[in-house]
């Protein structure tokens, strides 16, 4: 999935030596990498199957350097790809052979924590978890917790509108931001949002969140901090079929309970996790649900009773409440280790990220099972059940090029299935390079044209992260056979599911 100028649009040919000379002359203190051996470590992000060595890597320390770099890039017509910690799973920070990779890792200061206002002002290279750690002495934390939170940067979280296991109750990144400082493609500074709860004009902060570095470079972020819940308890329920587990999820929500986390794992995923983490999961269950309730202890106890009754009514074969914090941590350790655990039972795995309306879960799981047989590849299912965000893990061996090809094709089919039932091709990982073709399934040509119009308002030369997030119409024409129009279920395979 290298950038394809025929489908993704032409990129200017730039003389690397001349560009390097100008950058060194105009920005003498800017740290630059240009030798092949120094560039190679930056050739991919968390989607390691896609690799391109960038022309140059810039590691700015100051806002002025970011502005200066963007001015030169605009002037010379050089594309710029911004990168945080490089943990993204959709190739959003995949470099360009003809572009500069702008690595924001050195913007790593927590500028200010204001416990009274409940906010933290941070630079984009700060790790997600570091914010909560810095806020902990005040009894506060930053709610969104993507599974990569020990490593991923908050700037990357903004670019992807990252989620995590607590989204149903606490929202996505966009719900936990107050203010963004950005540098535009021509080096101008803008502030979007404010310290107040709303700001005059259009909500450009919401527009920028999740825009995958295509509209501007984020240079400072003010996030909301929440009081840490005084109490959290977790229930583990086992089911002898997946449909009953899905019903239990709907019933919990219908009973008026909003869990802090509500996760489902199928048998393949839970067995792998159990073997790896010894979490105490029942290996004979078809599916398990982990339901965490947090808040004031009396409320949590009230909700635990309610949820237990709902799970039992839905046909759970067993419901266990973690007896203490150690057991609660163990229950979660299994879930959090699910991806590496699956990595132990297969040479490689490919993590998908579709969302669906929860009611469609049985149908989609049956569909995935049928596709899994068709492509002769195993699929383990891990599911943020509360908000309908599925992470099917496709097991394959990358050394076998046919398996790699089948894994990609199977992944694409799973995403199209999500769109066909009214869902989305990405819940929290972003489109990046990975799902650029599936965008043509979810949006029609007019909608994609409208996205291009938004892009043109901020980056008319399309220098910021070209080739990601929004496909060209040429690309969609090439892959147009896969277009599904909403509401209709056009592809004949669906009937079988």
């Amino acid at each position: 999935m290298h950038y394809d100028e025929r489908l993704d649009g032409p990129l200017p040919d730039v003389d690397k030596t001349a560009l390097l000379d100008r950058l060194r002359r105009d920005l003498p203190d800017l740290h630059l990498l240009h030798r092949r051996e120094d560039l190679t470590p930056y050739e991919c992000d968390g989607l390691a199957a896609y690799r391109t060595v960038p022309m140059l890597v810039a590691l700015p320390d100051t806002l002025e350097q970011v502005q200066g770099l963007m001015r030169i890039a605009s002037d010379e017509g050089v594309p710029v790809v911004a990168r945080g910690a490089g943990t993204g799973l959709s190739g959003g920070a995949m470099p360009l052979e003809k572009g500069i990779l702008l690595v924001m890792a050195r913007f790593n200061r927590i500028v200010e924590i204001d416990p009274q206002a409940g906010t933290a002002r941070v630079q984009p290279g700060v790790r997600n978890l570091a914010i909560s750690q810095a806020a902990a002495p005040y009894g506060l934390y930053y709610a969104p917790d993507p599974s990569s939170q020990i490593a991923c940067s908050i700037g990357g979280n903004v670019a992807e509108n990252a989620g995590g296991v607590h989204c149903l109750k606490y929202g996505l990144t966009v719900h936990n931001l107050l203010k963004l400082d950005i540098v535009t493609v021509d080096g101008e500074c803008l502030t979007l949002g404010s310290d107040a709860l709303d700001t005059p004009g259009f909500d450009l902060m919401a527009l920028f969140t999740g825009s995958e570095g295509m509209l501007g470079i984020v240079t400072e972020i003010t996030v909301k901090l929440l009081p840490a819940p005084p109490c959290a308890k977790v229930l583990l329920a086992s089911f002898d079929n997946v449909e009953k587990a899905g019903q239990a999820v709907a019933d919990i929500i219908a009973a008026g309970v909003i869990p802090g986390g509500l996760e489902m794992m199928d048998n393949l995923a839970l067995c792998a996790a159990e073997d790896f983490a010894h979490a105490g999961y029942p290996r004979d269950a078809a599916a398990i649900l982990l339901c965490e309730l947090d808040g004031v202890e009396s409320d949590v106890d009230e909700d635990c009773q309610r949820v237990r009754a709902v799970m039992e009514n839905a046909g759970a074969t067993e419901v266990r409440q973690a007896r203490d914090d150690a057991e609660r941590q163990r229950f979660w350790a299994g879930r959090k280790a699910a991806f590496p655990a699956v990595g132990r039972i297969s040479p490689d795995y490919y993590c998908m990220d579709g969302t669906i309306p929860k009611r469609e879960l049985p149908k989609v799981l049956a569909g995935i099972e049928a596709l899994s047989r068709e492509y002769h590849l195993r699929v383990a299912n891990v599911f943020h059940a509360g908000d309908g965000n599925m992470h099917p893990l496709i097991l394959f061996d990358a050394n076998d090029s046919d398996q790699l090809h089948r894994a990609e094709a199977l992944g694409g089919r799973i995403l199209e299935l999500c769109v066909a039932v009214g869902g989305s091709i990405t819940g929290e990982h972003g489109v990046g390079r990975e799902k650029i073709n599936q965008m043509c399934s979810q949006f029609d040509a007019d909608e994609i044209t409208c996205f291009h119009a938004v892009k043109a308002a901020f980056d008319p030369q399309r220098l910021l992260n070209p080739g990601k997030n929004i496909p060209t119409l040429n690309r969609c024409a090439e892959f147009g056979t896969m277009h599904i129009h909403r509401g209709e279920l056009p592809f004949p395979d669906l009937e079988r599911f």
């Binding site: 259009f202 969140t209 972003g430 979810q442």
Partner: protein, 351 residues
């Protein structure tokens, strides 16, 4: 009633062909906000109805002309709600107007804004196309987030025809209290309760009284009532009246201003009478002080001042934008509405 989107699309296309500005309008309760637009009224109320509602998904989809009172009643039958408590100025609002204005009621600091609960929209653009963004799922990061951009855009970027919202269960317990406190005391108490995670869902100070609402499960609400003390709030409809501007505070000829400030902003000596809602983050002010003075006061506290009403027209009711930011607003508007048919000048003269 029902799906009138074809008719709306025809209206937009005709207006576009003739470059005639349109002013989308629902119940008209917020029509006085912003600058007057010299354009044809585009009534959306016929395009109404709940399209889809599945309580166990926590998602409802309604057409723009649907009355908010009806949507709230539909949700209440399932013990669910729009958490941001939209104002019903003049008795009601339309779903389209609710989203276009982005205005929220007393629960906003704790529950979130209108934008926070928008999951998807259908919009007729300035190109005369009926497009869909976002969807009916909680998490969806495909493409740019044009749905949330529509919230608070005052109809300047396109005609909202349909919106999907995340909804939440109504709290099982709700108690309202009043305490006699000065502004400074009230500020400190509310900040302290917030930091400690007490189940506040409204806090408004005015006339020497702090009024608060506590919502959650029985246990946490009872514990908080016992801890906070005070006395039960006398007026059972206080929060609705505050939300809809039906308190006596809002009467009288003096212009009404809305100051949006950081949650921990200090108590401000403002020229006029004030009512400090949202725990201090939204301050209503009845004042005939000049615009520049109020804007300066709000800006120096890290916020903005919007002229909300008054007998005399104000040419710039919304707090002005920095020049660079205004330029990007103009570029975005020009890209999405090249013929300038949607509410030109409603937010700012040059937008």
């Amino acid at each position: 009633m029902g799906d009138q989107s074809e008719a709306l699309l025809e209206r937009v296309r005709a207006a576009r062909a003739e470059r005639r500005p349109l002013c989308p309008r629902g119940t008209g309760g917020k029509f006085h906000l912003g600058r007057p637009v010299d354009g044809e009224i585009l009534d959306t109320l016929e395009h109404s109805g709940v399209v889809h509602y599945d309580p166990s998904e926590l998602v409802v989809t309604a057409r723009a002309g649907t009355l908010v009172s009806e949507l709230i009643a539909t949700l209440a039958e399932q013990d669910q709600m729009l958490p941001f408590e939209p104002p019903l100025f003049g008795g009601d609002a339309s779903v389209g107007g609710m989203v276009a204005s982005g205005l929220a009621g007393p629960r906003r600091p704790w529950a979130g804004s209108v934008r926070d609960f928008v999951l998807g929209t259908r919009v007729i653009t300035g190109e005369g196309q009926h497009l869909r963004f976002g969807g009916e799922v909680m998490k969806n990061v495909a493409g740019y987030d044009l749905s949330r951009l529509m919230a608070g855009s005052f109809g300047c970027l396109g005609l909202i025809t349909e919106v999907s919202f995340k909804v939440l269960p109504r709290p099982r317990a709700s108690r309202s209290l009043q305490l006699r406190l000065t502004g400074e005391q009230a500020r400190e108490r509310v900040l302290d309760w917030r930091r400690r995670g007490l189940p506040l869902s409204a806090a408004c100070h005015g006339g020497g009284l702090l009024r608060i609402r506590l919502e959650g499960n029985q246990g946490s609400v009872h514990a908080a009532v016992a801890e906070i003390g005070g006395e039960p709030l006398e007026d059972n409809h206080y929060w609705d009246k505050l939300r809809d501007h039906r308190l006596p505070f809002f009467d009288g000829a003096k212009p009404l201003w809305r100051l949006s400030l950081p949650p921990a902003a200090p108590v401000l000596e403002l020229p006029g009478t004030q009512l400090s809602d949202w725990g201090g983050a939204q301050r209503w002010l009845k004042s005939d002080a000049d615009t520049a003075t109020l804007r300066q006061l709000a800006a120096s506290a890290g916020g903005s001042a919007t002229r909300f009403g008054g007998e005399e027209a104000e040419d710039a009711p919304f707090h002005p934008l920095p020049a660079a930011l205004l330029r990007y607003h103009q570029t975005l508007k020009a890209r999405l509405d090249p013929e300038r048919i949607f509410n030109p000048g409603r937010l700012y003269a040059d937008l």
